[in-house]
Structure formats: structure tokens, C-alpha cells
């Protein structure tokens, strides 16, 4: 067991767990976006930042990737943390304002406005779909491509992958594509951000006995 302080409370947690796990276990809320149980921690969205250390040595770290250490002093809602978090939410909102997940987080943190240029991206590169595909579906059909501004997620060469089973797992976990999948135009109902697969529900006649994660699936509604 490792002894540490979270928000001034002396606690002891199991060795090897992350700050996020410890905090959640003890009931301290930390918002997350790119974190999902069953997938490896990634630290992409930076929403889960917490402050560790004291005074001049204090720094912000992503709690989902940072393992607990003996004597560590963690603050999950300090002024600095909140300021950083709100900024991250604003940036996320700017790039993907249509995402229900991001909207919910924003309203929870009382972010009503964002000061950046609206982008309407269909992907925030959180990597959930990539990890879902690799770790849970054991397919590795999609991955990151390019870098910097042109970084994107998709299949190699933008063609339908041989190893993709059209499970729809990537769409299920995608925080950005919820509106995509509830889009009013059938051809845009395909989640563009996560994968170059056809929406399973649109190909239903070909994949009759397929599982569909969408509930409710508006793409199916459109078909009707």
C-alpha cells in the first residue's frame, strides 16, 4: 500500500494504481474524456490534470497516466487545476462544438463560452477508437496517420481494412461522432472521424446478424 494525500486527506492505495484510479476510488471526481476502463491510459485529452507537489515544485500532470508515489500530495481541484481544465474544455469545444460529450463536460464546469475560432472538427484525436480497435477488438484496423495539423485517424491507405470486422466499436467509444451518427443526412451518418468503415446499420442488408451499438441509431431511422 502507498500512502499519499489527496486534497489534504491522508489515504493509502494499492501500489501501481494511477492517481485517477485512486481519486475515483475515494470519490474525488476527476473529469475524463480519453480514459476508458479496459483500455490502456493514453493521456491525450488532458482533462484529468491534477496538481502534484508543493510550492515551487508543484506541477500539473495527467492523473490517468501518473502512478501514485509514496508521500505524494495531490490536489484535484486547486485553482490552477481548474483554470487549466477550463482552458482545455474551451479548446475542446472550439475544435468539436457539436460533441454531446464535450458539451456535457463544459456545462458541468460552467464553461458557457469559448474564445477561439470554431473548427467543427470531427475528431479530437483522443485515440479511444484506436485503442478500442487494438485492445478490445484485437483488430488493429485503424491507427494514427501523419502528424501535427494533418494527423488523422483511419485505415492504411484510406481503403477498407482487411482486418476490420465492422464491429462498430470505434463509433461506440467516439466522443466526437455522436452527432455524426445522429446526423440527418444518411451519407453523412458515417462517422468520419474514427474510421473509414461504413456505418454498420447502413450496410445492414449485407450484415444481417451484426451487432449494432447505436441506441437509438438515427441512421437506421433514416433508412426507414
Amino acid at each position: 500500500m502507498i500512502k499519499l494525500t489527496i486534497n489534504g486527506l491522508n489515504v493509502s492505495v494499492e501500489e501501481g494504481s494511477t492517481i485517477l484510479e485512486a481519486a475515483q476510488f475515494l470519490g474525488f471526481p476527476i473529469p475524463t474524456l480519453c480514459h476508458m476502463e479496459g483500455l490502456s491510459p493514453y493521456g491525450a485529452c488532458r482533462l484529468c490534470v491534477v496538481e502534484i507537489g508543493e510550492d515551487a515544485g508543484a506541477k500539473l500532470v495527467t492523473s490517468c497516466t501518473y502512478p501514485v508515489q509514496e508521500g505524494m500530495k495531490v490536489r484535484t481541484t486547486s485553482k490552477r487545476v481548474n483554470r487549466a481544465r477550463r482552458m482545455i474544455i474551451e479548446l475542446l469545444l472550439a475544435s468539436c462544438p457539436q460533441s454531446k460529450v464535450i458539451q456535457d463536460i463544459a456545462s458541468k464546469y460552467n464553461v458557457r463560452q469559448q474564445r477561439f475560432r470554431q473548427e467543427h472538427e470531427d475528431c479530437i484525436l483522443c485515440g479511444l477508437c484506436v485503442r478500442m480497435c487494438e485492445e478490445q477488438m484485437v483488430a488493429k484496423a485503424i491507427g494514427f496517420r501523419g502528424r501535427g495539423e494533418t494527423r488523422s485517424i483511419g485505415t492504411p491507405f484510406d481503403i477498407k481494412s482487411d482486418v476490420c470486422r465492422l464491429c462498430g466499436g470505434c463509433m461506440y467509444v467516439c466522443p466526437a461522432c455522436q452527432l455524426r451518427c445522429t446526423y440527418t443526412e444518411p451519407d453523412k451518418a458515417v462517422c468520419g472521424g474514427c474510421a473509414n468503415i461504413a456505418a454498420p446499420c447502413l450496410d445492414k442488408d449485407k450484415f444481417g446478424d451484426m451487432m449494432c451499438y447505436m441506441d437509438p441509431c438515427v441512421a437506421c431511422e433514416i433508412e426507414k
Binding site: F144, R147, S161
Partner: protein, 279 residues
């Protein structure tokens, strides 16, 4: 694309447990770009995942998934070059070659790319063609650079690059000068040694200009042949240098008159060399 070539590259790297990047570099060197079938073959034969390979291939700018032209023109758009008018140079290249940056001309001769900094800011705006630097390029010089490249850049490099300088060398064994003032290569006295390969022996004259790879030989030397070089005076073989960084062949050492050692790779076509000047 020849699958055999890719297979050989993979075989070579399997033994040394080399990483993916070295494999992709070798493939790019063989084909000039990364053909999609080659990536697929790498995935199949090395047990890696195509997604990972594709990710690496698209991450690094030095890898190209599209066939590239014979000559690569890189226009620097870094800050220093930018303020000195590099964007208009890039535009001029685009106009003259009738392609956009990142594209290849239809005749597969030129690929134009823009880079963010070449680390030669004092020379800006700088353009690099096949590894040759053109400093302080002006709009009007663009046509000239293209024409020179078409002619063959190695031929003119000696005159345009002022950093090329002549060196005088002597035999490391007898310390007799190897310079030949009677025969000129690149307009300078040449370095003369005796070269032998495939039971042929003859005089080999090398340019004494550091940075020039021009030679004159009695016999036609086929590419990729490793020459044995001898001192024409004491007839000792010039050998015992370090291994060439490019191809691994043991290099040929010669003493530089002003102090120091120059080593050159004896494999025909290899430009590997080492210049070590002492004070």
C-alpha cells in the same frame, strides 16, 4: 516493384533486429518511395501491423508514399529564409515546373518540396537540389537552377559551391606526394594512384577538390566494384582506413599535406569519405 528486393531488405534487418524505420529507409532508397505493396509485404513478412507501418511512414516527412522524381528540390521556408523572400522563390519554382509544392512533374524529373528549416539560415533563402545547397537564391536564379539540375548537378557543383577547396595529399607509407600537376581534373592538379580491380591495373586520377567526386581512369570502372589502390611511388597498398559509413567498405587513407588524414571509400559510386584535419 520487385517483391524480391523487399524480401532481401527484410532478411537483412531480421538478423540485426533493426527497427521499422531502417527497413523503410532501405525500401525508400531502393524504390525512391514507399510502394503500398512493399508496406503490405513488410507487414506480412515481419509480423508487424500494417496500421503501425503506415503510421510511421506517414509520420516522417522523409518518407514518401508517392513516387518521387529523379531530382528533389527543397525550398526552405524557415523563418530566416521566409523574411528574405523564400515564399516567392517557392512560387517561382511552382510556376516554372508547373507543379505545386509536394508534387512531382509529369516526366518524373523533379519533385518540389518545401521544408521548414535546413539549418543554413545565413545562406537564406536557400534551395537544396539533390543535396547541393544554393545560397541567396533570387527569383531570377530559379530557371538557372532548374537548367543546371537537368544538365547534371555533379558537373557544375565544383564551380558554384565556394566551399569546395583543393587538398594536397601524400602516401601514408612513403610520404611521397600523390599530386599530379601534369593532368588536371576539375582544373586542378589531381590525386594519382594506381588502381586495380578484376586483374586490371591502371592509373586513377581523382579530383583534389574536397566535395567533388570526379575521376579520370585508364580503365572503365564498373559501378559497385571495390578498387584496390596503390601508391605509384612505393607501390604499397593504400589500406587500413576506417569502415565507410555509407557502405561498410574499409576506406583508403591518405595524408593531407597541411596536416591530417583524408579517407575515401574505394567502392565505385560510393561517396563515403572522412576528412580529419589536424591543427
Amino acid at each position: 516493384m520487385n517483391p524480391e528486393v523487399v524480401h532481401n531488405i527484410l532478411e537483412k534487418h531480421q538478423q540485426s533486429q533493426d527497427g521499422l524505420i531502417s527497413i523503410l529507409e532501405d525500401i525508400q532508397r531502393s524504390f525512391g518511395y514507399l510502394p503500398s505493396q512493399a508496406l503490405q509485404q513488410v507487414a506480412e513478412e515481419s509480423g508487424r501491423n500494417l496500421v503501425d507501418i503506415y503510421g510511421v511512414a506517414t509520420f516522417y516527412k522523409s518518407f514518401s508514399l508517392k513516387p518521387r522524381g529523379k531530382h528533389l528540390i527543397s525550398v526552405c521556408l524557415g523563418t530566416a529564409c521566409h523574411v528574405r523572400g523564400a515564399p516567392s522563390i517557392a512560387e517561382e519554382f511552382e510556376k516554372s515546373l508547373k507543379i505545386e509544392a509536394g508534387e512531382t512533374t509529369e516526366d518524373q524529373e523533379f519533385t518540389l518540396e518545401t521544408v521548414n528549416c535546413l539549418g543554413a539560415c545565413a545562406l537564406g533563402p536557400v534551395v537544396v537540389v539533390d543535396g547541393h545547397y544554393f545560397p541567396n537564391v533570387k527569383r531570377t536564379a530559379v530557371a538557372e537552377i532548374i537548367a543546371k539540375t537537368r544538365e547534371g548537378i555533379d558537373k557544375i557543383e565544383v564551380k558554384t559551391d565556394q566551399r569546395v577547396f583543393p587538398i594536397e595529399v601524400s602516401c601514408p607509407r612513403c610520404n611521397h606526394s600523390l599530386m599530379d600537376t601534369m593532368n588536371l581534373v576539375d582544373g586542378h592538379p589531381c590525386i594519382t594512384v594506381t588502381a586495380s580491380f578484376n586483374r586490371k591495373h591502371g592509373r586513377l586520377s581523382m579530383s583534389c577538390l574536397y566535395g567533388s567526386y570526379n575521376i579520370a581512369s585508364e580503365h572503365v570502372i564498373p559501378p559497385d566494384i571495390v578498387l584496390n589502390l596503390f601508391c605509384p611511388h612505393c607501390h604499397a597498398e593504400l589500406s587500413g582506413g576506417a569502415n565507410c559509413a555509407e557502405c561498410g567498405t574499409p576506406m583508403v587513407p591518405m595524408i593531407v599535406r597541411s596536416g591530417g588524414v583524408v579517407q575515401v571509400c574505394p567502392r565505385r559510386g560510393c561517396k563515403g569519405h572522412l576528412l580529419d584535419l589536424s591543427e
